[in-house]
Amino acid sequence: MNYRTATLIFLALALLVALTAAQTSSTNGAAPQASQEAVVSSAPHAQDTSAVHQSHLPPNFSADDAYKQNCTRCHSEVPPMSVRRTKTVVRHMRVRANITAEEAEAILQYLTQ
């Protein structure tokens, strides 16, 4: 792979991300507000959210399990934060720790309850 190929791949990746962004923008134009509110309002109610995504989580999987299985593998202590800051940090950790969407949501519940 030469220098030119590498830069073209980088450019292609940027275009791919941009196109995906545009698609997300057009398809979610009306929906995001509703779905976002659903996530936030469910944060203090673990059972509600787990019911929504139950099909993607193991049976009897709790927010406590999600925290212990993912966070404590690297963190000895997780300082408490406000809900909205926690939500941002959990998204950061979803990327860094390769956590699925459902696990991230369960961890958010654990940290904000």
Binding site: T7, S76, T88, R94
Partner: protein
């Protein structure tokens, strides 16, 4: 190369602007807020005839957009004040962008990353390099032979396989960038991990191929195990590069949350031990490590025993005693560290 990057950034910014014009997706009245997090630390390293003081400031900016986007960046500024016996203090400051990336959460199992990122090799670089996370302040030998940063693109995510296994993966491509703040090597690499939830065991393998100058492969393996019965963590990592060498580290940490004496004090403490070895390659393959790799010049091994205490959940102190066994002379290493992890909202108020 610069031209392509400028075009790419322009395309990304145009796309973000298009999304912003949709309105409500960016306002996020109930969602996450932009956060300034990171840590401030002060490390002290004492060896025979030498003392090193290392203040570190590593701010991280996290900016979420809508439900699927995150822009994140970490800047690290580290000073090294060194004092040798009978010599004046010498100091040097290193600064650089650890990562500056755009993340797109494509679906529940796939995230697309573009920009500058921490190389997904092993477990230390991506997960444990921050001063407020690592148990022993001194980084293991083998982290110097792994490329720490890349500039390009990456796909990553996690996929559950039934109840007993979760696979996590990351595959990256990095371009060559020559810049004192964001330098990187042209390379491709991947890491795949297998996590067994019931056993709380993760096993991972990594591969990295350098695609400039001398093409060379680096292989790695790692493991994390947490006891179900005790607050005990065990981590280990191995890396092998045919030109610069090979090595491993094994670390155990016991968090004393179940102590029955001096509870207010002891239960905020953790004891740690690490053992590591580094091996130079055989004479037939030895190519010499680049001068910027802080690797031992001979086979070496080192052991640390440490103690951490959390003054508050976000303030951690570390003390460690170590001994290094190396051809240039065995010696003791003492380290003392203090880290403060902060997280402030950049907008949206305290809640």
């Amino acid at each position: 190369m610069i031209k392509h990057i400028v075009v790419s950034v322009f395309v990304l910014l145009t796309a973000f602007t298009a999304i912003a014009q949709d309105g409500p997706q960016f306002k996020q009245p109930e969602g996450g807020v932009p956060v300034l997090t990171g840590f401030v630390g002060l490390g002290n390293d004492f060896q025979s005839g030498q003392q090193q003081v290392s203040p570190t400031f590593a701010p991280i900016v996290l900016v979420p957009f809508g439900d699927k986007w995150l822009v994140e960046s970490e800047l690290e500024i580290e000073g090294n004040y060194t004092h040798m016996t009978n010599q004046p203090w010498d100091n040097q400051w290193d600064k650089g962008v650890e990562y500056a990336q755009v993340d797109y959460l494509a679906n529940r199992y796939v995230t697309v990353v573009g920009g500058r990122f921490l190389t997904p090799f092993g477990i230390f670089n991506e997960r444990l390099h921050s001063g407020w996370i690592r148990n022993v302040q001194t980084a293991p030998y083998i982290t110097a032979m792994e490329m720490s940063d890349g500039t390009g693109g990456m796909l990553r995510g996690g996929v559950p396989v039934g109840n007993f296994l979760k696979i996590n993966y990351a595959a990256s491509f990095s371009a060559s960038v020559n810049n004192s703040w964001v330098g990187s090597t042209r390379a491709a690499g991947e890491r795949i991990g297998f996590f067994f939830p019931k056993a709380r065991l993760e096993l991972g393998t990594s591969f990295q191929r350098q695609l400039q100058d001398e093409h060379v492969n680096t292989f790695g393996a790692d493991a994390i195990w947490q006891s179900n019965r005790l607050p005990l963590d065990v981590r280990a990592e191995y890396a092998r590069n045919s030109i610069v060498g090979s090595g491993y580290w094994v670390e155990g940490a016991y968090h004393m949350t179940e102590a029955h004496f001096c509870k207010p004090f002891i239960r905020k403490s953790q004891t740690e031990i690490r053992f590591e070895q580094f091996f130079l390659p055989s004479a037939a393959t030895m190519g010499g490590s680049p001068s910027d790799m802080e690797l031992p010049g001979s086979n070496a091994k080192r052991v640390f025993a440490g103690w951490s205490y959390w003054i508050r959940p976000e303030v951690r102190t570390n003390f460690a005693y170590g001994r290094e066994f190396i051809d240039s002379g065995d010696h003791n290493v003492w380290t003392v560290g203090l880290t403060y992890r902060f997280a402030f909202p950049l907008m949206g108020g305290p809640k």
